[in-house]
Amino acid sequence: MHDVRATALQDRSAVPPAPAGRRLGRLTLDIRQHLSPWKQAAFLAGSLAIGLAISVAILDVAGIAPGTLLGELETVFNADSLRAVLVRAAPLVLVGLGAGLAFRVGFWNLGLEGQMIFGGIAAAGVSIYGIGPESTRLVFMGMAAAVAGLLWVLLAAWLKMRFRVNEIIATLLLNYVAVYFLFHLLYGVWQDSKTAFPQSQQFRPFERLPELGLGVNSAVAIALAAVLLAGWVVHLSRAGFYMRFISANPGMAKVVGISTRAITIAVVAASGAVAGLAGFVNVSAQESRLTQSFFDGYLFSGVLIAFLSRNDPIVVAVVGFLIAVLFVTGQTLQVFYQIPFTMVQLIEAIIVIAVASSEFLIRHRIRWTR
């Protein structure tokens, strides 16, 4: 009797154990070959709706009823708030563009903040040393910022090509170098002598990006121009066509006669230049001086915007605007309802996860098999 049971047990251990819950069936994942754009959009919209619903529920628990939330969102679209949103959106769109362009050629530019910092430093330098006539001072500042951002990213690109340094590490760590260089200036030669705060002296009026009327700042015009230019290159030009091949199959792109190296360098340089412009826009339109935190958080936001817009420059503009709405609404909620800023970040994160999971559903089919 005893023996029989022992052998029975042994037999069972020889056979691989049955998966738990076998009677209920199991989930299987298939890779989808193709899904129509409409269905993809439906999945995306559905996931976004779920993400938003969860966010609303969390805010409800935190003491902000959905009704009040709706009211707050409405006020974002009155003229005053809209102006705040648009000024906020300009640098967001620019860093989103910077991230998206680099990602399109498979270069993980995580140095957006470093490039912004150097953009800001270059713009402030032009102001401090009074380079160029007053009438074109802003143009000089913008150009200097773009060139500075470009050079800073090319340093990482060169490290990658010459020494095979992973650009994720290189760009990310060069951010710290940029930050400490900024501090070096702000606590040293560029410190504002009037206030003794670690920031540069205020820009003169002709060094600040002007309002264009109707509550639209010229920062928005710069961002829009960059979006249209990038959109044209990506969607209509020969270089944009080649970029698709470089990201889809670099080996094949090279063999088929595409100058992968030149295009990659050019696009990465553009990415850095746009991030540098974001720094310029931020110091000139928002802060009116070089501060020690004007770049803070833009790396995460830039990567997020690029991800949500699938690196499409035109979509970047839309997503950048929506993120700005989220930020501005979040600020209002913070001030009037005393919710912590982490709550805004939480909502941001929930929406990212929702969109990311829609990506998964678009690529895979989940089936229940018995």
Partner: protein
């Protein structure tokens, strides 16, 4: 003596392509049994059936005289069948002991790894291998990795040991040592199957040889009693009368490769001093057993690999050896690489994009600032029809959705749309069914008749023989012998396998 392993009437096809067609094989305990045949003869497929990796469509497997149905490699292992694959199945960052434990699981890691270490030491001492179980696999030389694979199989208790092309990656001295060891193993009570295409190994080390051709077993005989010529003839088959073709006469030299040297990814020099020329209106076939440098040669010619030295001269462009691919393509080079999805197509992009990409640079599809996507789609649709690319619902669909043959037709449509003057084709019909294969050959011949210089690199001797005006046999990174049409199949076979 009973048969250790017996396979009868094995059939196996992949996606309609028949790899094994009634193959028969039997090996006894105590013998080294060679399995000889050309590339694609079905040797590896048959042994993959024996080791449980492939389930046969039909046929019987008997081990030690008992009929078995193998559920997978683990099941085959339980029956004492162990296979050392041509491409090692080792996890590089793991130690030898960990790799062997992975293949021979024990219920508990700590006691299991101790047990495995002891077993490795015992087996290694028995075979005369110097193996430290604690070394990481990625620090081992190729020959040592192979020893690990063999020990892995033996620790699993294999009585039937299958070695798939074991000497392909070894130097001559290493190969001799290995085969000596293997023979010892057979003498001490194992059955060893040696898959190979090297005649001298068969003559020297095998007790019996089975020859395969075209998925069928041709003969089983005693290698001691057959001459090398007889074995060659059985391996490559009778010379088929070649179709007579009107010679269009050759033009000037279009491609001249001189003293070319290339290294593989791991640094080993596989193309050593390769020299040949191809004239306009000529197909130059490069035959040879795989792994003799053809892959690297093809990559160097199409610009995917920068050579270490030597010259690739193309008419109108000069020496393009280290120039980027764009230079040689501007001079009219077309590339039909063996690995379509590595070098010829971007799977995630549309058929239209893939078709048009090579002609965008010339301005054919609009200026740099504005690409004419409508023209791309229109011309891609025309090409899809002209080249009979099947399975296309829309030219906007992804290229990755095309089957192998149709993907190849798309590549050829693109490359030939540029009216190339030099064509480099590597195994252009690999994985294609008979009809698609014939279509590809027709296109190559038509290009030749138009006056293109064609380099055809293929491991399929029939293909090379049928198409080439001249044939170079590549062994160990050199063109070891050259033949002019009509070439003697036996002589080429000798040059391919009889060398060294």
């Amino acid at each position: 003596m009973t048969l250790a392993l017996e396979l009868t009437g094995i059939r196996k096809s992949f996606d309609g392509v028949v790899a094994l067609d009634g193959a028969v094989f039997a090996a006894r305990t105590g013998e080294v049994h060679a399995l000889l045949g050309e590339n694609g003869a079905g040797k590896s497929s048959l042994m993959n059936v024996a080791s449980g990796l492939y389930a046969p469509d039909a046929g019987h497997i008997a081990i030690g005289g008992l009929a078995v149905a193998l559920a997978g490699p683990a099941d085959a292992r339980r029956h004492g069948v162990g296979m050392v694959h041509q491409h090692f199945k080792l996890v590089k960052p793991f130690t030898i002991a960990e790799n062997i434990l992975l293949a021979n699981p024990r219920p508990h890691y700590r006691s299991g790894i101790q047990e495995i270490r002891a077993a490795i030491r015992a087996k290694a001492a028995e075979l005369g291998f110097e193996i430290d179980p604690e070394r990481r696999v990625d620090t081992l030389a190729v020959a040592e990795q192979q020893q690990v694979e063999i020990v892995k199989v033996l620790v699993g208790g294999a009585k039937i040991l299958i070695l798939d092309e074991p000497t392909a990656v070894l130097t001559d001295a290493e190969a001799d040592r290995l085969l000596e060891t293997v023979r010892q193993l057979a003498r001490t009570g194992a059955a060893v199957v040696l898959v190979t295409h090297k005649l001298h190994e068969v003559k020297r080390y095998a007790d019996a040889v089975t020859i395969m051709r075209g998925g069928r077993t041709v003969a089983t005989l005693d290698p001691g009693k057959a001459t090398a010529a007889e074995l060659t003839e059985l391996t490559v088959g009778q010379t088929a009368p070649l179709p007579v073709r009107a010679d269009s006469g050759f033009g000037p030299t279009r491609l001249n490769v001189g003293g070319l040297r290339c290294a593989r990814g791991d640094g080993q020099v596989t193309v050593a001093d390769t020299t040949f020329y191809v004239r306009a209106g000529e197909i130059y076939g490069i035959a040879g057993v795989s792994g003799n440098g053809q892959a690297e040669l093809a990559e160097a010619l199409i610009g995917a690999r920068v050579p270490l030295g030597g010259e690739i001269w193309i008419e109108g462009a000069g020496n393009v050896g280290s120039a980027p691919p764009v230079t040689r393509r501007a001079a009219g080079l077309a590339a039909i690489p063996a690995d379509r999805y590595a070098y010829a197509l971007a799977g995630p992009l549309s058929i239209a994009d893939n078709f048009a990409v090579a002609n965008v640079h010339s301005g054919h599809y609009g200026r740099a600032g504005l690409v004419d996507f409508a023209a791309m789609r229109r011309e891609a649709a025309d090409a899809v029809a002209a080249y009979d690319v099947q399975g296309v619902r829309s030219v906007r669909q992804k290229a990755a959705l095309l089957s192998g043959g149709n993907a190849q037709k798309l590549v050829i449509a693109r490359e030939f749309s540029r009216k190339p003057s030099v064509i480099v084709a590597q195994s252009p019909s690999r994985g294609l069914d008979a009809r698609a294969c014939a279509a590809v050959h027709e296109r190559l011949l038509a290009a030749r008749d138009r006056g293109a210089a064609v380099v055809l690199i293929s491991e399929d001797l029939d293909e090379v023989l049928a198409l080439s005006d001249r044939i170079g046999v590549m062994t160990r990174g050199r063109i070891a012998a050259e033949f002019t049409r009509p070439a003697d199949r036996q002589a080429i076979g000798q040059a391919m396998v009889g060398h060294a």
